[in-house]
């Protein structure tokens, strides 16, 4: 890639990042431009990847070679598009039926095995190995089993939650709160990581190699907001007068 294109790329990346961040101060046309460009570019990228990586090698090339069987799944896939034409939208049911049946057949046994049976086994299994476990591991396993039972009671609605059952389900709430707390803490860390990533790029684009893209665009945005505030103030005064 030539040096000029790298600089243009840097200006584009820095500009779009600053335009999107500018929403934190106030909604503005630059944010709208970046927002729409993001959606358009994303869809464009997905379209070209789908055409070059899927449509050409999986449909066009086999059909050109005389492998006509691929036409059947292709037609089923295309049938989904009839959703957009109400009169013939019933045709899409054939495609959806296949997808539903195929998806359910794969997902239900795997889900039951992975998220249900294996988790029950994982909760109970340590109690068969108590003799070989350290006191801390025993405590850990007991805590997990206790927590799982309490949370399950909290989500069991066929019995009124009162008396001992209420106490158990209340303990379940505390376990859930601990999970939500951990999830929230991690979410904060993740958001900061993403922000750090953008700032790191902005710092990279602020170098002489990129002709100080970040500084110029940031200054431009500040000038825009100052001018906008000035004109907005004047028009308000004019209305009052």
């Amino acid at each position: 890639m030539s040096e000029t294109w790298i600089i243009i790329g840097g200006w584009l990346a820095a500009g779009l990042t600053i335009f999107l961040f500018s929403f934190l101060y106030k909604d503005n046309p630059f944010f709208k431009i970046a927002e729409h460009l993001y959606l358009g570019a994303g869809m464009g990228w997905l379209f070209q990847v789908s055409v070059t990586n899927v449509w050409i090698p999986k449909i066009w090339e086999p059909v050109s070679k005389g492998e006509l069987l691929v036409i059947i799944p292709s037609i089923m896939g295309l049938s989904l598009l009839t959703q957009f034409i109400p009169k013939i939208s019933w045709i899409s049911r054939y495609g959806f039926t296949f997808m539903m049946g195929y998806g359910s057949g794969l997902a239900i046994p795997a889900g039951l095995s992975t998220d249900f049976m294996s988790q029950i086994e994982g909760t109970i299994k340590p109690f068969s190995l108590l003799a070989s476990m350290s006191p801390f591991a025993i405590f850990n396993s007991a805590l997990i089993a206790f927590g799982a039972i309490c949370v399950l009671f909290y989500f069991f609605f066929s019995v009124e939650h009162k008396g001992h059952l209420k106490k158990v389900s209340n303990v379940g709430i505390y376990f859930l709160m601990i999970y939500f707390g951990a999830a929230f803490g991690n979410t904060v860390m993740a958001r900061f990581s993403l922000l750090y990533g953008r700032f790191d790029d902005l710092y990279t684009f602020s170098g002489a190699k990129y002709l100080y893209a970040t500084q110029f665009i940031l200054t431009g945005m500040v000038i825009y907001f100052l001018v906008y505030a000035l004109f907005a103030g004047r028009s308000k005064n004019a209305i009052k007068a």
Partner: protein, 274 residues
Amino acid sequence: MLKEQLQKFSRIDRRWIFLLLAITLLVPIIKPIGLPNKTIAEATSRVYGNIEKLPAGSFVLFSLDYDPSTRPELHPMATALVRHAFSRNLRVGVVTYIAGSTGLIEELFARVSKEYNKSDGKDYVILPYMPNILAVMTQMSSDLYGIYTKDRNGIDVRGMPVMKGVKNYKDMSLIVCVTGTAILDYWVAFVGDKYSVPVAGGVTAISQPGYGPYLQTNQLKGLIGGMKGAAEYESLIKQPGKGTSGIDALNLAHLLVLALILTSNIILLIIKYL
């Protein structure tokens, strides 16, 4: 008087907090402080251990399913993992089920393969993006060439030295999925559990707590979580990268959040009880 001032302070324009946060994150980028990253999670060590114990020449499949939206967290992680695999002379295969990840994968391998003098087709192969992940995973269990006949450049993969003796999951020593989506769940449920293939993962910090049950039951052989996890892995392979440099900023930002939470709670208590 104090109460009124505090009430006024508690109604501060939140854009000041945004500015404070921006400064807190930007300062360590401009001038790194070098705060240490002393803790290494057991789940991260397990991923490292699983790659470390593989004999040279083993085939590891990387499912790199992230796009630019999660790049700061997951790209350093994937980079560290690929560096580790190359340093151990493992054969690397790459698949992706996210269309936006193809550019990032190209960038990663263009950079890291040069560091270890690895060549495309001989030491690693990048397979093209495929939609319908479940169909692909199912097909790969019997014959991966039924779905992947060519690499992302249109070259036939059957004749590549990197694919020698690799036909399905049984020929793979480890699968590592780096993703900001639920694709790791699919690898665990539809491949790891079903075909007894070791699966490890790298995920965003947001998703990390949800994978605890899989780690406890050993359905997941290890997990790297967020930028912190990336920094941990970089420490383990002794190659500091973007994950490690981000720790300064993360630590300072977390301290700022703690300070803000404490300050706002103290202010609220004073307003309520004084």
